[in-house]
């Protein structure tokens, strides 16, 4: 049997996009099938590697702590070398894409969140390097009149409590709305406007009129939805002003920018992408998958490939579903190992230090990312799983989401036959 594709990747979240990119580099004829944008559309657009340990202990040096993780953690399964390779890969492709992601050596970097908390992350777009906030005595917190999901005063309320920011002078500056209405505006709306010439001119003008020179500015993400640092550079060159954009509540401009960067790269590499299609069936014989089915508008389509990477995400992404006392992976119906009693799925506090068991529900795999059953037997020979669909880690508690996604996507692509 001759398949049209070497590889089908299912899922167009961060994991699926990275897997498809890495596979395309190994000259695999790749097809990406996805239903939606996944958590990229809501996430922070940065790569957390390992930011918190047990009891929510802050981690400064992630590489040291990775060694201490339990053996079923995806980082332990794949090892430090692979992690370094995956990070280097990401660093290279984002540089090639013109929107380079960087890290602060082996250390975590602390990003200011919209409520003025600090969040440990590892890689971020280079223009977002927060060092300037440390160096500058004066910090401007920017708002826009009528922006509904960003409150500079709330950010200030949190940030002024941070020991690292003691002695700083904060100032809230609210820019006028770019539109006739100044209520119910979203950062995405404004950013989309700033992406156009007219909007870019508006931003430069109000910026010049309102922001002192050489300032350090914390801002909601307003600098456009393209992965393009030119406006930021222009403002830096003209006024000496550094702008650090914070994440926001969904929809996430920073995540959408990262998604654009990766999909542009994929298109440049000629990878076929089918969007708004849901994989609903499979063809498996003797532990070998030969094809997947999608159904849209009630029409069934069949896609053949030699190998598959499943990057369908967790419960949020739709890769796994649950019922009382049980849960399963969606495409191959693989049962997930979950407690029978619902009370054992979670802890009393959603945001407490105790880890929620459900946070790490997922598919168990061998070190080749192939699903295994409880006795360790491989379930499917030519199907690999990557990203949030995997078990053994908790992206929210650990602050490791895109780190695990990157590593497992890269590793899955590199362990394909003849990759």
């Amino acid at each position: 049997m001759k398949s049209e594709y070497d590889l089908i990747v299912v899922g167009g979240g961060f994991t699926g996009l990275i897997a498809a990119l890495a596979a395309a580099e190994s000259n695999k004829k790749t097809l990406l099938i996805t239903f939606g944008a996944g958590s990229l559309a809501v996430g922070g657009g940065i790569v957390d590697l390992l930011g918190a340990g047990e009891n929510n202990r802050l981690i400064l040096s992630p590489f040291e702590e990775i060694r201490e993780l339990p053996e079923n953690h995806p980082y332990s399964l794949l090892g430090l070398d692979k992690i370094r390779q995956a990070l280097a890969f990401f660093e290279r492709i984002t540089r090639e894409g013109g929107y380079p992601y960087v890290a602060n050596g082996d250390k975590n970097t602390f990003m200011v969140t919209p409520i003025g908390k600090l969040k440990p992350t590892y890689m971020f777009y280079e223009g977002q390097r927060p060092d300037i906030l440390k160096e500058s005595r004066d910090i401007i917190i920017l708002g826009v009149s009528g922006l509904k999901d960003f409150f500079p005063e709330l950010l200030l309320n949190g940030l002024s409590r941070q020991p690292l920011f003691k002695g700083k002078r904060f100032k809230v500056i609210t820019l006028p709305s770019p539109f006739r209405k100044d209520w119910d505006l979203s950062a995405f709306e404004i950013s989309a406007f700033v992406t156009r010439d007219e909007g870019r001119d508006w931003f430069k003008r109000v910026f010049k009129d309102n922001i002192p020179k050489n300032a350090a500015v914390l801002s909601p993400p307003l600098l456009g939805i393209e992965p393009d640092g030119s406006l930021r550079r222009e403002l830096k060159d003209s006024y000496g002003t550094a702008i650090i954009e914070t994440a926001t509540l969904p929809p996430s401009v920073l995540g959408i920018r990262l998604r654009k960067l990766l999909t542009d790269l994929l298109k440049a590499k000629g990878v076929a992408i089918i969007e708004a299609a849901k994989v609903t069936g499979n063809e498996v014989k003797n532990k070998i998958c030969s094809a997947l089915f999608t159904s849209d508008n009630k029409r069934l389509r069949r896609y053949e490939a030699k190998e598959f990477i499943i990057a369908t995400g967790g419960f949020f992404g739709g890769g796994a579903v649950s019922l009382p006392g049980k849960a399963h992976e969606m495409i191959f119906n693989i049962d997930l190992d979950v407690p029978l009693f619902q009370e054992e799925w979670s802890k009393n506090k959603l945001l407490g230090v105790e880890r929620h068991p459900f946070g790490s529900f997922g598919v168990k795999t061998d070190s080749d990312l192939r699903a295994i059953d409880n006795s360790g037997e491989i379930i499917l020979e030519n199907v690999r799983f990557a990203g949030r669909i995997l078990s053994g880690y908790d992206f929210a508690a650990e602050k490791s989401g895109n780190g695990v996604a990157l590593l497992t996507a890269y590793a899955a692509a590199k362990s394909l036959n003849n990759a």
Binding site: G43, I115, F151
Partner: protein
């Protein structure tokens, strides 16, 4: 009649204990009769059973066989409330559904019982039923139409409270009655304790009304008077889907998990009956929820696939001589003069549907004791005064029509203030909560009016957002607070309130309160949403993150 001490902040002719629908109903009734009264509530208004129930405005049909008297009272009050509380009621009508296996003889008895109680019923042919309620399947054998409706406890309580205020009624929240004082066999006052600060004060009164719902026996015990009442807990499940346009009851002797009530975009399903020790025991167990879902899917086969918003439980006071659901739901006004304490009255039992009647009977007794001859007027005057056409027209410039109606239903006459806030700053017309169409103007109006803001005590401040939730319904819809809680604290920050408070604590507290209702039902879409909430709160905001020091 006792000589009345001069009126002051420390003396009221009448004090009412309990800020549920019964107590607030009495406050309005007495206030409308010109009697100065103070109501004290240990938490916030509407935190007891009056917000932990189905929200069914009974036609009485449910009691047509078991308790004809209660059925009749319900029907009468149902009609009165539709007149005086249109802003708290959705006139849905109801279906009583019997399915394969139900006793056919019961239906006959029921039809006769309804007729006797004055409850109109009409048989609906099954084809029509399927057209009207496409999700209602299962093996139906007979369906009857009754004048059941949906009623919102929060709105009903706040509308009563605002109306009472306009007649001079006073209420205090976070004020628990912790002692009852008497002299020579007559009540002289109570001690109230602020449950957040622990501070106590004494207030004197001539008459004391105990309307503490499931806590009625505990309050009577403060005066060493035993009342034979035990709490009994019932579970409710709120779905994020209006899967029925009508109230659905099973046509059988009242049992578990046989009521469905649509409210706006959601549906509430209940209930169970479990004896508990403590009226505050409103624990939700997964097992009980699954038990209910298994029964419920007999009439709504897709029930388990609908997204659940949360589970919550309320307790009912049951007279200990009877047990569980068989005990009468009729109420009892107790004059404790018979127990040796003059001026002390307890009211117990009943239903939310009959609160007005209960308040009337209780207030009648108070008046009789005071020697005051003033008739009850609560049935004559709507809770919310008719909003002027001009005001309405002005509002149309800023609101969609539905938004105006919803805001009036929550804020009553205070809607004018909401409108003024928005008219003076159009930004305030932005929606803080899309699910319930709550504007920033309304949020701020409630925040500033609620009287507990700004405040010195951190613990007090922490309650702020939930207090606002009960008055506006933010955080009760689809997003379960993910967005509106953030916008709420953002608005508090922007308006310059509580500058010394770490606002992330308020935010987290709100999110945790919502979580408590989701946790026992954590599967399906609820789990998916929980993963999103964790992404937002633990990853994007890091809202429980400790400060970082180098």
């Amino acid at each position: 009649m006792k000589p009345s001490a001069p009126f002051s902040n420390n003396h009221y002719p009448v004090i009412i204990i309990g800020g549920g629908i019964t107590g607030i109903g009495i406050l309005r009734d007495l206030s409308m009769r010109g009697i100065k009264a103070l109501l004290v509530e240990q938490k916030d208004l509407c935190t007891g059973t009056s917000s932990h129930f189905h929200g069914l405005l009974h036609s009485g049909a449910r009691y047509a066989v078991s308790d004809g008297e209660a059925a009749k009272e319900c029907m009468e009050e149902n009609l009165i409330l539709k007149e005086i509380a249109p802003h708290a009621i959705e006139r849905t009508e109801g279906f009583f559904v019997s399915i394969d296996g139900d006793e056919p003889a019961y239906a006959e008895k029921w039809v006769a019982g309804c007729a006797k109680a004055g409850i109109p019923t009409a048989r609906v042919d099954l084809k029509t039923v399927v057209n009207l309620e496409p999700n209602l399947r299962g093996n139906m054998t007979a369906v009857y139409r009754v004048p059941d409706s949906a009623v919102d406890g929060f709105r009903l309580i706040w509308q009563n409270a605002y109306s009472a205020q306009s007649y001079g009624g006073v209420f205090r929240t976070y004020a628990a009655a912790t002692a009852i004082h008497s002299e020579n066999g007559a009540v002289t006052g109570i001690t109230i304790t602020n449950i957040l600060t622990g501070e106590s004060e004494r207030i004197s009164c001539d008459y004391l009304v105990n309307a503490a719902g499931s806590w009625v026996a505990a309050v009577a015990r403060l005066a060493d008077i035993p009342i034979g009442i035990t709490p009994d807990r019932g579970l409710l499940i709120a779905f994020n889907y209006r899967f029925t346009e009508r109230v659905i009851n099973r046509l059988h002797p009242a049992g578990d998990a046989d009521i469905f009530v649509p409210h706006g975009a959601i549906t509430i399903f209940g209930t169970t009956s479990v004896k508990v020790e403590n009226p505050a025991d409103t624990a939700v167990s997964s097992k009980e929820a699954l038990y209910m879902l298994n029964i419920g899917e007999k009439v709504f086969p897709e029930l388990k696939s609908y997204r659940i918003l949360r589970g919550f439980a309320g307790t009912r006071p049951l007279f200990s001589n009877g047990g569980g659901r068989d005990a009468t739901r009729n109420f009892m006004v107790m004059d404790h003069e018979n127990d040796g304490l003059k001026g002390f009255i307890s009211i117990a039992g009943g239903k939310l549907t009959t609160y007005r009647l209960m308040a009337e009977k209780t207030s009648d007794l108070v008046c009789k004791k005071m020697g005051i001859d003033k008739p009850c007027r609560t049935r004559l005057e709507p809770l919310v005064k008719k909003i002027d056409k001009k005001v309405y027209k002005r509002a149309r410039a800023y609101f969609p029509k539905l938004g105006i109606d919803l805001s009036i239903s929550r804020q009553g006459d205070n809607f004018r203030n909401v409108l003024n806030r928005i008219a003076s700053d159009k930004k305030k017309s932005a929606l803080l909560c899309e699910c319930e169409l709550v504007t920033r103007g309304e949020f701020e109006e409630v925040l500033f009016r609620s009287g507990n803001y700004p405040i010195e005590h951190l613990e007090l401040t922490l309650g702020t957002l939930s207090d606002v939730r009960r008055r506006t319904r933010i955080g009760m819809g689809t997003c379960q607070g993910n967005f509106c809680a953030y916008r709420g604290v953002g608005t508090i920050a922007e308006t310059g309130g509580v500058p010394d408070t770490d606002l992330s604590l308020i935010l987290n507290k709100f999110i945790e309160e919502r979580w408590a209702g989701i946790r026992p039902l954590l599967w399906g879409v609820q789990l998916k949403e929980a993963e999103l909430s964790r992404g937002i709160y633990q990853t994007i905001l890091n809202s429980a993150g400790e400060p970082y020091e180098e």
